[in-house]
Subunit: 372 residues, 2 copies
Amino acid sequence: MTPITKKIGVLGAGQLGRMLAIAGYPLGQKFGFLGTSHDEPSALLGQMYTDEVESLKDLVKFSDVMTYESENTSVEMVREIARSIPVYPGEKSLYYSQHRGREKGLFDELSIPCAPYQVVDSLENLTQAVDEIGLPAVLKTTTEGYDGKGQFVLKEKSQIDQAWKAIGGRELILEGFIDFSRELSIVAVRNADNEHVYYPLVQNVHHDGILRYTIAPARQISETVQTQAEAYMKALLDKLDHVGVLTLELFETVDGLVANEMAPRVHNSGHWTIEGALTSQFENHVRAITGLPLGDTSPRQPVAAMINIIGETGPVAEVLKMPNAFLHLYDKAERAGRKLGHINLVADSEDALYEQIKQLSAFLPAEDKSES
Amino acid sequence: MTPITKKIGVLGAGQLGRMLAIAGYPLGQKFGFLGTSHDEPSALLGQMYTDEVESLKDLVKFSDVMTYESENTSVEMVREIARSIPVYPGEKSLYYSQHRGREKGLFDELSIPCAPYQVVDSLENLTQAVDEIGLPAVLKTTTEGYDGKGQFVLKEKSQIDQAWKAIGGRELILEGFIDFSRELSIVAVRNADNEHVYYPLVQNVHHDGILRYTIAPARQISETVQTQAEAYMKALLDKLDHVGVLTLELFETVDGLVANEMAPRVHNSGHWTIEGALTSQFENHVRAITGLPLGDTSPRQPVAAMINIIGETGPVAEVLKMPNAFLHLYDKAERAGRKLGHINLVADSEDALYEQIKQLSAFLPAEDKSES
């Protein structure tokens, strides 16, 4: 072991853990994962602890520091682990980001614009909230739910019963509809020495609630808007004493940026950074949680993109033949709607980038194919 | 597993296996290693088979294809494994590159210029060879020996006895002295579909027989010289039916390029390609041996460098603070003369590159420090 080597435990063993490990080994770090089977994406990339009774205890024993893949990690578990070793990001970051009501409350507190919202726990509450917020609005579960799951778009009052039946019977949040031109996101990193670094805002395109591709940096973002986004991130990072990567999804509107939700972790919309930035989000997360200086977040080329590989592995040999295209597979079996990997692209001009994206239309949903 | 996933067995578990794995997982490949302990650089990056009796058999069972880290791998072992699964590069590549006499014979056969040489196995032979080749000359073991080990520089006839005592008593090769201006090397790749790709010639600076840094591409190389080097590589790759990476070390002389030695594997002088080229030597080796199309070998920026971290891990936090610098540690304990990692640098100009190298003088041998 080199003198700077630390052992990093990861709660989870999916593609995020996998990419953290691939980025972390070159820094001399070692990895262990809490997983459910030896077939998971991270399984061959470190010491694997599967879900037997002693696994968590053993992983804690293995690790110098713990991190996690999901904002749905139990706060109680993190608190328990933190008695033995540091857990980054800390429980405050988890507590806020795993509940949409608390999250919105935090945005309000820090004067970060977000949609009008109301937490509801009954059909009556919901009806009242619809009256106050107005329609259209989006009804969501307050906890869990990702990639568009656990959501219902309410367009008319007549749908209220149907919506409650579909996802109700538990705590929900009604969010006023935001009229946005684009979906953006920003990835930021803070370490325990209070260094902050920010990646440029990127533009995300979803389809059926799943991120399909990202353009990085987002086109035509003024310096003022980037600075505004960084200010929001700084407020969040400092308020949460956040250590590691924090991602914020935003809507671009005529009135400026509006926060959607945050994730206390490396994020799909930051995958472009592996070849697109001087330091990837994965490497910077590892640096942050192991007490190392943060790395330069500048793009390596003027434009980059990330295309998700969803459901089917697809014609990846074609990707391998393209210069400036980088394949990232997660070693997962094909299944409809499943994220199996992604393709990173870098280019010197927007035209060149869109030409490359066109060549990869097989990986994009049909609507985008017909557009190109 | 994705449909294109292959399981790659590696004979050896050092830094080369480690970097092959880090490059291969994103392509969806899985790795297994034949090692001697669970502390080796590759140990956490795949299924580890340590040197118990059944290990090789189990690794063969695990693997779809086998490769190796060292040109000193036993040809007999490779032949045995090849009865079950493909081994790349094949035994022909190993047979020639693990014996300096055969290697020189192959260079002669393919009209690749090399030093005059003679294989000797006795003091009498050696004396005779010195008469024919003249002095100065370099006496080397025909097999094994790397990083300057097993070599003796003969300047005067009076040293013949001393030289034979130092490294003789076994088969040796006497090589005529080459008056060179620079040490260069070229990395090339061939896959079983007979695709060939070549990286640019790079310039290597050794100290005490150990590579200390590489400048990539080598400065002021004419297109003619690059083309000549590629022609030599093509002749070697085709003659050997080579599949995977092949590296050739060359001397630059007033009469043109002179071959020194080759290695049937990824090479220290190719480590710059990880961030310096569109596809790294490691990824291209993995592509070649798993039947995938080869990747673009173009540099990502005008100039790059690789500095080896030798003996002591050194002030790596300083490296992490430098933009355009990329740290690669091998998770090895410090020991004099040991390769513990390397630093890759990329830059837009030669001046910027040399400025960066200067900042990293702590990692360079004293002579180079005083020069800067």
